[in-house]
């Protein structure tokens, strides 16, 4: 279902954009041919294993690898001593220390050493023979513990940034951010209703099904080729080089197919270890994580604590909001507290607010991006309170949001003015959807929530080649994580006016195409797509020139229509792409063009969602019985894969709301590092997810594209919690809404919060 905004721009008569052909990489992926990170095998390849800290916080006093090295078949062992002293800015240095520990381990799973051997069994034997002595230190596991006076410090020299004057003593608070507008006292004085609550969420993992994997082949000339599954092989090259102390160009990174990432595969874990092991062993080395390693040592999303106070007047206008937010960073600074703060109030035009956010280190794995990083946690608090305000005022929750919704030209809480956005359209799409007025059954409740995400632009490169048969190859460097090859091919087919099947899109390695930033920030169809379109247009300009040369007419008299050059007055027989390609030797040689850009014109994304749940009053179990999401896609290039992004984001959000959490033992080790005990949604937990694509074209992109990957995960936490509140009469403020928690709330109330 598509809702057109402006017929002048949404009905341009595209032939390919907006259709649903089979993805170009589909056949490989349904027949088992596609090669993911762990699937590569090279002649002479060794298998590696990684030794990880069993402690949440400890000083390494010694590492003895003598016994391990003497085991037959062990070819290389590395520790922190095999890497140069961390250099660069503080973030780079933290990345180096996170890749492999030096003096201290800061979380269970922190890398201590790694082994390459002739088999995985021998490598694991060697790991067991490495003797590490630790001085175990006290640990801090939550923002409350870490921010308490006298808390154990993870980093002895960390002075909180963003506080003026700067603190004189170190703490676990890495930084503070503040966003504000107006006069808070006046805003609350104007309010007729005020709601004040505290919300918490636990760490959750991106949960990609493919564990991290890397193969490295380091040659005696000091260069290394790395095959790995990531969201951006150029980033893998840059980050690995930093850890190794190399120039990036010494590394060639070849992208494997990627088995899910959701932000978690935008950084390095195994890559520099594999390179160094391969260098020491003189043979290729493969490292593959087990699922427990993925949970313990790769980036979950931050746990959060958000205190919020929000007021509104009887007219239904939000007058003031005050937020205090602390996000767990894990062992090194870098939570998405900035994005969480900036997005928190972004859907609403609020005259008076302050948002104060803190990035707090704890003895857990260093958090990493997870789909709209930082936004779901703050939206959980804001959208829960918005819901409560609407109910207290007796206003329909969609009408309340419409009353306060931001529009083009309004200033975002984080500074700039909104360009053309489709928030209101998503709210209206939900309000007008049959779901919104459908009757509910016993023990059922309905919740709505909205969400915002910036979307990103960043750097992309593309090369377009015309082949000798007149077909087209589109080369980019953006790993295809969910159908982007299809989007690139559709846009190229549209540009050339040729059939989709005549375009072959591929993802090239770091030496075969210009630089590309990661597949993240919902940016690929926008930014890499823009590079593809620009390269296509350069090629078409060239093709017109060749036709003009052939006909001996000025190029202005040649236009490109439906895959062929035509003379404006029809005086020449048209020249097809295939005909021009066939004769390229006579018109200037092979035909290709490249485009590189730092994408501008990013279009912000909004989503509004509605969910019905049924809560079992005897067990506290919550079943999602109906779900509808409406999201502004700008323009859906391949609607099926846009729907897929909407649906996937929603379901990850449902998992976050209902099931998922890291559970820690008292000693700071993780109690549930498996998919059995860390329960992501399965098919039988869910209904169909009705995905409504709203199209308010983004004027900043040739086809009106907005990023669609991320914003879908922002509303579900609150949408589900609002539905549970409606079903039970209790307002839950701590996630996940697991059966014991919900049952306790039903039996004893939740007002203790």
């Amino acid at each position: 279902m598509t809702i057109a905004d402006d017929p002048a721009t949404t009905a341009p008569g595209y032939k390919w954009v907006g259709t649903r052909p089979i993805r170009p990489d589909g056949f490989e992926k349904v027949t088992g041919r596609a090669r993911f990170g762990a699937d590569l095998m090279l002649a002479g390849m060794l298998e590696g294993s990684v030794l990880r800290s069993p402690h949440a916080h400890a000083r390494i006093t010694s590492i003895d690898t003598t016994k391990a090295a003497s085991i037959p078949g062990v070819k290389a062992i590395i520790t922190g001593a095999d890497f140069p002293e961390p250099a660069g800015n503080p973030t780079d240095q933290d990345m180096c220390r996170n890749a492999i520990a030096r003096d201290k381990v800061l979380y269970e799973g922190h890398v201590v050493a790694a082994v390459a051997a002739t088999s995985k069994r021998v490598a694991n034997q060697a790991l067991a023979a490495i003797e590490v002595t630790y001085e175990v230190l006290p640990h801090v596991m939550t923002v409350d513990e870490a921010m308490a006076p006298g808390a154990v410090l993870l980093h002895d020299n960390m002075i909180t940034k963003g506080v003026d004057p700067a603190p004189t003593e170190p703490s676990n608070v890495a930084s503070r951010v503040v966003y504000q507008r107006g006069e808070l006292d006046k805003g609350f004085a104007d309010a007729d209703v005020v709601v004040e609550r505290t919300f918490t969420t636990k760490p959750v993992h991106q949960g990609y099904i493919e564990p991290h994997a890397a193969v490295a082949d380091t040659t005696p000339d000091g260069r290394s080729t790395v095959w790995c599954s990531s969201q951006g092989h150029f980033a893998m090259r840059a980050y690995s080089a930093k850890v190794l102390g190399w120039d990036p160009s010494r590394l060639k990174v070849i992208p494997a197919e990627i088995g899910g990432g959701f932000g978690g595969k935008t950084t390095i874990y195994l890559e520099p270890l594999a390179v160094r092991l391969s260098q020491k062993a003189g043979r290729p080395v493969r490292l593959v994580m087990g699922r427990d390693e993925v949970f313990k040592a790769t980036g979950p999303a931050s746990a959060s604590k958000v205190k919020i106070k929000m007021g509104a007047n009887k007219a239904g206008e939000i007058t003031a909001a005050e937020l205090w937010m602390a996000y767990e960073a894990g062992a090194y600074p870098g939570s998405a507290i900035g994005a969480g703060s900036m997005t928190a109030l972004a859907p609403y035009n609020i005259p008076h607010f302050i948002i104060e956010g803190f990035d707090v280190v704890v003895n857990k794995p260093r958090v990493y991006s997870y789909r709209a990083p930082g936004a779901p946690q703050s939206a959980f608090a804001v959208e829960s309170v918005v819901d409560e305000l609407a109910h207290k005022l007796g206003i329909d929750p969609i009408d309340f949001r419409l009353k306060n919704a931001v529009e083009e030209g309004m200033q975002a809480p984080y500074g700039p003015k909104y360009q053309k956005i489709g928030f209101r359209e998503t709210l209206e799409a939900i309000k007008n959807h049959p779901h919104y007025t459908a009757p509910l059954g016993p023990n059922q409740g309905r919740g709505v929530a909205a969400g915002f995400w910036f979307n990103a632009g960043m750097n992309s490169s593309a090369v377009v080649h015309v082949n000798e048969d007149g077909n087209v190859t589109v080369v980019t460097g953006s790993p295809d994580i969910g159908g982007s090859r299809a989007s690139m091919a559709l846009m190229a087919a549209e540009e050339f006016g040729i059939d989709y099947d005549r375009v072959r899109p591929l993802v090239a390695d770091t030496e075969q195409v210009g630089f590309n930033d990661v597949t993240g920030g919902s940016r690929v169809t926008l930014a890499t797509g823009a590079a593809v379109v620009e390269a296509c247009r350069k090629v078409i300009a060239d093709l017109r020139g060749r036709a003009a040369k052939t006909w001996d007419v000025p190029v202005e008299q040649v236009e490109w229509v439906d895959g062929q050059a035509q003379h404006v007055d029809g005086s020449q027989p048209p020249l097809s792409l295939a005909a021009i390609a066939k004769g390229w030797a006579r018109t200037g040689g092979p035909i290709s063009a490249a485009a590189s850009l730092n994408a501008r014109g990013v279009g912000a994304g909004f989503s509004t969602q509605i969910v019905d749940v049924e809560v079992d009053p005897d067990t506290g179990h919550t079943q999602v019985v109906r779900y509808t999401t409406a999201q502004d896609a700008g323009r859906a290039i391949h609607p099926s894969y846009v729907e897929g992004q909407l649906q996937g984001g929603v379901v990850q959000g449902i998992g976050w709301a209902l099931n998922e959490e890291y559970v820690y033992r008292a000693d700071g080790t993780m109690d549930n590092p498996s998919f059995l005990d860390y329960r992501i949604p399965v098919a039988s937990d869910l209904p169909m997810i009705d995905a409504v694509i709203v199209e308010v074209p983004n004027p900043g992109h040739p086809y009106g594209v907005r990023g669609v990957g991320e914003v879908g995960i922002v509303p579900p936490l609150a949408a589900v919690a609002n539905a549970v509140a409606a079903a039970t009469g209790q307002r839950f403020t701590d996630l996940p809404l697991s059966p014991p928690r919900v049952l306790d709330g039903i039996l004893n109330g939740t007002d203790a919060n």
Partner: protein, 160 residues
């Protein structure tokens, strides 16, 4: 460590390979036979990415010792298509965009084949429970369930 020679039938072909007693069938299929379409997502039987048909039963190959394959008949994702003629499930997954990253897809296809072999006319609920042992983190399952229902309909029609 001494290795043991295992003889079995994989995707219709008589196949032999050497394993250590502690090896999983998953490791043997991937590393000894070269069938890397069988994926490891967890190694503990929780994600279903390594699903194969072992004597016609859908099985997590990570939970089976490789020597247990002696004399068995095994089908992996590589054995679903008939030459270049895709299985209806494969066709419907492609047509229905039922994969995003594609790493869980081999396990889903194998599990769905087992489901339809036993129940050619499943309800949506039966498909959801039949595939509850397979994790997908990208799609939210919507398009997977639709693809399986569509494939079931096409297969019933073809068999009429």
């Amino acid at each position: 460590m001494a290795r043991r020679l295992i003889n079995c039938t994989i995707n219709g072909d008589p196949t032999d390979f050497l394993v250590e007693d502690g090896d999983s069938l998953l490791d043997a299929l991937r590393n000894e036979v070269g069938l890397t379409g069988v994926k490891e997502g967890c190694g503990t039987g929780d994600c279903g990415a390594c699903s194969v048909l072992l004597n016609d039963r859908v099985t997590c190959s990570c939970l089976v010792f490789a020597p247990e394959a002696e004399g068995a008949t095994i089908t992996t994702v590589e054995g679903l298509a008939d030459g270049d003629h895709l299985h209806p499930l494969q066709e419907c997954f492609l047509e229905g965009a039922a994969l995003q990253c594609g790493v869980c897809t081999p396990g889903f296809l194998v599990a769905a084949k087992a489901l339809l072999d036993h129940n050619p006319n499943p309800t949506e609920t039966e498909v959801r429970f039949g595939l509850a042992g397979n994790l997908c983190r990208c799609t939210g399952y919507d398009k997977i369930v639709r693809a399986v229902l569509e494939a079931a309909a096409q297969m019933r029609e073809a068999n009429v």
